[in-house]
């Protein structure tokens, strides 16, 4: 494992150092003393590469990433996994707004809470099914315009009085599935989705995902009581089909 000390290094240089390491064949990198440097992992393509990040990485972590695994030993900021194609991001803490925007594949595991507009525009395509699991709670517009993939919101790691998800959850959703480990009142939901309880096939789908989430984050949670979960799926893949006249 190669060590990179990010102390006092500007993001542009830091990312150049990381890219240079990968070009020279390094498969595992540990970046220490990260203090908000942006775009770490941005556009990296090697599926065997693992980057351990100590400290808080800056915005757009892993934007356009296609393959590597990032392990963040702290909180992350906004825009994690922006338009990501494949790979894995593990965040041992909270993350900010707009996580997994337009994500097409790969996995994002976040231990604690996330901000607004998380999982928006996620899309699945053929064998690509993006997966995001959030251990804590989420803000407004969760899963907005979602077009594919799987999002799981557990509300298990943080214990506060606010609702598990904010307003306009799944507004404009037209594909994919959202699982929430708590009943959500209809007033929080977009009118494009319907609420269901889980079936056997959902449990079969979720069990390995949740196990991987727990083992990657090295935590244990009591999250396998599937009768507690609800599932949100879109009523139509054409929510605005009848809005226009020629």
């Amino acid at each position: 494992m190669k060590l990179i000390n990010a102390k006092g290094v500007y993001y542009k240089q830091l990312n150049e150092m990381i890219r240079a390491e990968i070009r020279s064949g390094t498969k595992e990198i540990k970046v220490t003393n990260v203090v908000g440097q942006r775009y770490i992992g941005g556009g990296l393509e090697d599926g065997d590469v693992k980057i351990h990040i100590e400290g808080v990485p800056g915005e757009d972590l892993a934007a356009f990433m296609d393959g590597p695994t990032l392990n963040v030993r702290n909180n992350a900021q906004d825009g994690v996994g922006n338009t990501m194609n494949s790979g894995k991001i593990i965040v041992h803490g909270m993350a900010g707004d707009v996580i997994g925007y337009g994500m097409r594949g790969g996995k994002i595991y976040i231990r604690d809470d996330v901000g607004y507009r998380v999982g928006i525009h996620m899309k699945g395509y053929l064998d690509k099914v993006p997966v995001m699991v959030i251990g804590g709670r989420a803000g407004d517009f969760f899963g907005e315009y979602m077009a594919g993939g799987i999002v799981v919101l557990l509300g298990a790691t943080t214990n506060n009085s606010k609702p598990i998800v904010g307003d306009y959850c799944a507004a404009g959703m037209h594909g994919g599935t959202i699982y929430i480990r708590e009943e959500v009142e209809d007033r929080f939901l977009g009118k494009e989705v319907k609420k269901f309880s889980l079936e056997k096939k959902d449990e079969k789908l979720l069990t390995p995902i949740l196990n991987e989430f727990l083992s990657d984050l090295d935590i244990s949670l009591d999250i396998f009581d599937f009768s507690r979960y609800i599932k949100l799926i879109p009523v139509s893949s054409r929510p605005y089909g009848r809005m226009y006249v020629y």
Binding site: G43, D66, Y101, G102, I120, G148, Y240
Partner: protein
């Protein structure tokens, strides 16, 4: 169809209109067929995708449902005996200078459906054109004009951020920015595969390669058939992020962030599910038949600082090898916004005027939102010069460029390059029938129905696009020559070469040009 008194139709043996039938389907056009010339070859029946023309073998008659005719001219052009003439239907309603067909026609449709009226192409309202109120200067006696047929005339333009100064040239501290070279100051406008046909996009791509200029993928991804032309591709990143990946960003000459579109500033795009065919699904990387929704804002961009974040995310992902462009619609504060965009790190800024075309937009927005390209362009160029940041970004002007004269005027107002969209479609046979949104284009331009697509062979689209740009380039050279200029760079922002005719003082000031005769 009118509703009549109850029973009136039944007594004649006619069907009573159902609720969903149009209440008022007054035809706009009439297909007039000279029966003496008609040889019953049924070419027109096969050509019409709008369900206007039919054949009744019992009576041996070709007949028309005139209210479906959109005046696309396909049958008229294809008829081997020239038996068909499309005419305006009747005298219209009683003359009225306030209520035009565009208003009451839409109101009828909306009363039928309660929906938003959709349309294609660009704003066709009779707003004044500033291009038509500007004339060009020419050399007489005191400064010789140049003959482009015998003397060198340069149309080359480098697009991208230019260096701060040349003093450090050759030193290590000298910073160079990625630039792309256009051999002509004309590139093809962003039009996505889905909005336009793959054949037309391939034609433009091949034409761009041969001409040494660029085509723009729009926000619909880059089809694998276009990979041979990737060095001439400007790839777009819009709010839907369709087909956007690291590979997509690298398969390009430049990357463009789409914020807005002149035809529909401030609203998003929406490719209806029925248009998401197998090929489009592959290119956009979304499931077949699902809606492709591009909301109005990119939800990770709420400020200039956020825009900077995305610009540099793309620069990082492409390792600073591609210029990054930001495309905005021409709106009221366009100059201040442009200044922010340049400071956010954009290497190219695209200003799309309110005449700009679209594959589909609500008619009310297309016709009433945004400002003319000419004033927006003048304001942006002026502002960037005044703030001494004009060298930090190239300006691409687009939205309603109709001829080489518009190209020259746009460049004199401050553009580096222009994008042509509708003009490129004209080269492929477009008749401006404004039905792009219906996906049934009779000319194979804005459709992906295989039978209609076959009407526009790639080779033909390519040849004709090349011809158009070549013709315009010759004219641009002529115009440069008569102004005594020998390179397009000497024209850029050279507003002394423009004079206003019939403009108010304020309009002249806004455009930064002088009155003719002064």
């Amino acid at each position: 169809m009118y509703y009549e008194e109850p029973g009136a139709r039944e007594s004649l043996g006619l069907r009573t209109p159902k609720h969903e039938d149009l209440f008022h389907s007054h035809p706009e056009y009439k297909v007039e067929r000279d029966d003496a010339k008609c040889i019953r070859c049924l070419c027109c029946v096969r050509q019409c995708p709008y369900e206007t023309t039919f054949y009744d073998p019992m009576r041996n008659v070709v007949y028309d449902v005139h209210s479906n005719c959109v005046n696309c001219k396909r049958c008229e052009v294809m008829c081997p005996t020239q038996a068909i003439e499309i005419k305006k239907w009747g005298c219209g309603f009683r003359e009225n200078h306030h209520w035009k067909f565009r208003d009451y026609g839409a109101a009828y449709k909306q009363s039928d459906t309660g929906a938003v009226v959709l349309t294609g192409l660009g704003n066709d309202n009779p707003y004044m054109s500033y291009f038509d109120r500007m004339v060009l200067d020419a050399s007489q006696v005191t400064n010789p004009s140049i003959d482009p047929l015998r003397e060198p005339m340069e149309l080359r333009t480098y697009i991208g951020r230019k260096m701060e100064n040349l003093e450090d040239f050759g030193k290590e501290s000298f910073q160079e920015y990625p630039n792309i070279l256009a051999e002509v100051p004309i590139a093809f406008a962003p039009m996505s595969f889905g909005a336009i046909s793959l054949n037309f996009q391939k034609g433009m791509a091949a034409a761009a390669q041969e001409l040494g200029t660029f085509f723009n993928t729009g926000e619909g991804g880059l089809h694998e058939d276009l990979l041979p032309y990737k060095d001439n591709a400007i790839v777009q990143v819009a709010s839907g992020r369709f087909g956007v990946s690291k590979r997509y960003l690298m398969n390009s000459a430049a990357c463009e962030i789409k914020i807005g579109q002149g035809a529909k500033p401030g609203i998003g795009g929406h490719l209806p599910g029925e248009k998401v065919t197998a090929e489009i699904s592959k290119t956009r990387m979304i499931p077949e038949g699902s809606d492709a929704i591009s909301p109005a804002p990119q939800h990770d961009i709420y400020s200039i600082e956020d825009l900077r974040l995305l610009i540099y995310a793309i620069k990082e992902a492409t390792e600073y090898t591609r210029p990054v462009s930001v495309k905005i619609a021409a709106v009221h504060n366009v100059a201040a916004i442009a200044s922010g965009i340049v400071r956010a790190g954009a290497d190219i800024i695209v200003v799309d005027g309110f005449r700009g075309g679209t594959g589909a937009a609500p008619k009310i927005i297309r016709d009433h939102v945004g400002i003319p390209l000419e004033v927006a362009l003048a304001a942006v160029d002026e502002r960037l010069r005044r703030e001494k940041i004009r060298h930090m970004a190239s300006i691409i002007a687009t939205g309603g460029i109709r001829s080489s004269a518009d190209v020259v005027k746009a460049i004199a107002l401050g553009a580096d390059v222009v994008y042509i969209g509708t003009a490129a479609m004209l080269s492929a046979g477009c008749t401006l029938c404004q039905q792009c949104h219906r996906g049934k284009c009779a000319w194979g331009i804005t459709t992906n129905r295989p039978d209609l697509l076959a009407r526009l062979p790639v080779e033909m689209a390519k040849e004709r696009a090349i011809n158009l740009v070549k013709g315009w380039s010759r004219e641009v050279k002529e115009m440069l020559g008569l102004m005594g200029l020998n390179s397009i760079e000497s024209l850029r922002g050279n507003r002394l070469k423009l004079r206003g005719v019939g403009l108010t003082k304020l309009e002249l000031e806004t455009l930064g040009i002088r009155q003719a005769g002064v």
